[in-house]
Amino acid sequence: MRAVLIGLLAFVIFGPLANLLLWAFAERWYYPGKLPQEFGLKFWVQVFQPRGNAVQSLITSVWIALLTVAFCLAVAVPAGFALARLKLPWRGFILLLFLLPQAIPNLPIYVNIARMFYEVGLNGTVFGVVLVHASHGLVLAVWIASAAFAAVDESLEHAARNLGAGPWQSFSTITLPLAAPGLIASAIFVFLESLDEFTGTYFVGVPDVITLPLLMFNASMGGNYQIASITALLLLIPSIGFMLLVERFLKADVLAMVGR
C-alpha cells in the first residue's frame, strides 16, 4: 500500500518530466505511437546552431538576468541593511509596501508598465525588460537581504568599532562577508525569477526582446514540441540545480528572520 502510493506520487511528479524528455529527443512522433518512432538529436543541432534563435535567446535571457541581479542587489543591499540595522520611521509601513507586490496579481502592473514604457520608448528594449524584472525581484531581494543582515551577530560589529574600525570598514570587513551567503541566495532567486519570467516580458519585451520563455511559448504554440521541449529543458537545468543548492545558501537562521 505504502509502496503503491509512493510509486503513484513518483509517476505524478516524474511522468510529466519524462514526457518532456521524450519530446526533446524525438525525431518523429506520430499519433498513436506510445513512444517516438525515431529518436535523435536533429532538433538539438537546430536549436544550438550558432545563428539559431535559441542561442540568441539564451544569451538575451542570461544577459537580462545578470543585469537584473546587479540592479536588484545595488538597491536591495542598502535597503536590507537599513531595515535590519538602522532606526527607520514608518518601518512597519515600509515592510508592508515591500509585501504588497507579492500579495496582489501582477498582471495590471505589467499591462500598465508596458503602456508607460511605450510612451517613453522603452518597450521592446532590454533595459525596459530589466526594469520590469527588477521591480518584481526587488521584493524578494529586499526581504532576504534584510533577513541576512539581521542574522549577523551585532556584537561582532560593536567589537570591530571598539577596536577602531570606521562604520564603512566594519561593514565591509565584518557585516558584508557574514551576510554574503544570504545575499548570494537572494541573487540566485532574482536570477531565476528573471530567467523564468514570462508575463512581464510578454507585454514589455515584444516584439524585439525574445527571451527563452518567450521562445519556448512561441515554439509550443506553433506546434513545434521538440524545440519547445528542448528550450523547456534548458530552463529546467538552473531551476533544479538551485533546488539542490538552496539549503547550502539559505540557512535556517536566515529563513527564521524573513519578514521580521
Binding site: G33, L107, P108, N112, T199
Partner: protein, 276 residues
C-alpha cells in the same frame, strides 16, 4: 548624520523603484479602467467586462478555489506524513520526491502538462497500458482539468515545504501523548497538529491563490479557448483590440478577488511583524 536619515537615504532607491514600477502602474490601471475617451469618468468598461466575460470570471474563481483546496489537501497529507509517518525510508523518499516541481517555472509546467495530458500523451498511454481505461475512452485533459492539475502540481510542493517546516517545530510531546492514548495518526494530524499550523497553511494557500490568479502562461498554453481564465482575456483585449480600458477593468476585478485573499494574508503578516 542622524541614523534615522541615514536609514531613509539607504532605503530610498528601493522605495523609488517600488513607487515608479509598482504604485504608479497600479494607479494608472484604476484611472484607465474608469475613464471614457473624452476624459470623463465612466463605469462603461466595467459593464462591458461583465457583459463579455462574466462566464470567464466564474470559471477563473472556480478554478482557483478548487486548486487552492486541492493544494491544501495535498500539502496537509504530505507534510503530515513527513511529520508523523513511522516508516523511515518512506519519509526519506517522500521528502526527496515532493520538492521537484518547486522551482519549475509556470511556463515550463504549462509546456510539460500540454504534452503529458494530451489525448496521445503519456498519461493516457500509461492508463491504457495498465488496463485501467479502454483505448477509445482516452480523452484529452487539456481543459479546466488541465489547468487545475498544472496549478496543483506546481504549487502544492511550495505549501508543503512551508507546512512541513511549521509542523516540524511543534512540540513532539503533544503528538506523542495523543499517540500513547491510542489516537490514530490521522486524528492526531487533524486534531492536534493541524490547528497549530493553521496560520502557515493559510499564508501558503493565500499566496498560491493570488499567484494562480495572475498566471498567464498556464491557461494560455493549456486552455486558450473560451471559457478560459481572465488573464487570457486581458492579454487578448490588449493584443487583438488594443483595448486597455476593458483590460484594466478586468485586471481590477481579478484584483478584487485577490484582495479578499490578500486581506487575510496581510492581516496575518502584519500580526507577525507587529509581534516581533
Amino acid at each position: 548624520m542622524n541614523r534615522r536619515w541615514a536609514g531613509l537615504l539607504l532605503i530610498s532607491p528601493a522605495l523609488f523603484v517600488i513607487g515608479i514600477f509598482f504604485l504608479v502602474p497600479l494607479v494608472l490601471s484604476v484611472v484607465s479602467s474608469l475613464q471614457a475617451k473624452g476624459g470623463s469618468w465612466t463605469l462603461a468598461h466595467f459593464e462591458k467586462s461583465f457583459e463579455l466575460y462574466s462566464t470567464d470570471m466564474l470559471f477563473t474563481v472556480a478554478i482557483v478555489l478548487l486548486s487552492s483546496a486541492l493544494i491544501a489537501v495535498v500539502a496537509i497529507a504530505i507534510a503530515g506524513y513527513l511529520t508523523l509517518g513511522e516508516h523511515e525510508r518512506t519519509r526519506y523518499l517522500l521528502r526527496w520526491l515532493y520538492r521537484w516541481p518547486l522551482f519549475i517555472p509556470f511556463i515550463v509546467t504549462g509546456q510539460v502538462m500540454r504534452t503529458f495530458l494530451a489525448k496521445n500523451g503519456m498519461l493516457n498511454h500509461v492508463l491504457i497500458g495498465g488496463g485501467l481505461i479502454e483505448p477509445l475512452a482516452a480523452q484529452s485533459l487539456l481543459d479546466w482539468r488541465g489547468i487545475v492539475i498544472a496549478f496543483v502540481w506546481k504549487q502544492a510542493p511550495f505549501v508543503t515545504l512551508l507546512l512541513a517546516g511549521a509542523m516540524a517545530s511543534i512540540d513532539v510531546q503533544h503528538t506523542e501523548a495523543a499517540r500513547n492514548l491510542g489516537a490514530p495518526r490521522w486524528r492526531v494530524l487533524l486534531g492536534i497538529v493541524l490547528p497549530q499550523v493553521r496560520g502557515t497553511l493559510l499564508v501558503g494557500v493565500v499566496l498560491s491563490f493570488v499567484t494562480m490568479l495572475s498566471v498567464l502562461s498556464v491557461p494560455l498554453m493549456i486552455n486558450p479557448n473560451s471559457p478560459t481564465m481572465m488573464t487570457v482575456d486581458v492579454a487578448y483585449r490588449i493584443s487583438s483590440h488594443g483595448d486597455y480600458a476593458v483590460a484594466n477593468a478586468l485586471c481590477l476585478i481579478s484584483l478584487v478577488f485577490a484582495s479578499l485573499g490578500a486581506w487575510v494574508y496581510l492581516r496575518h503578516a502584519v500580526k507577525r511583524v507587529g509581534g516581533t
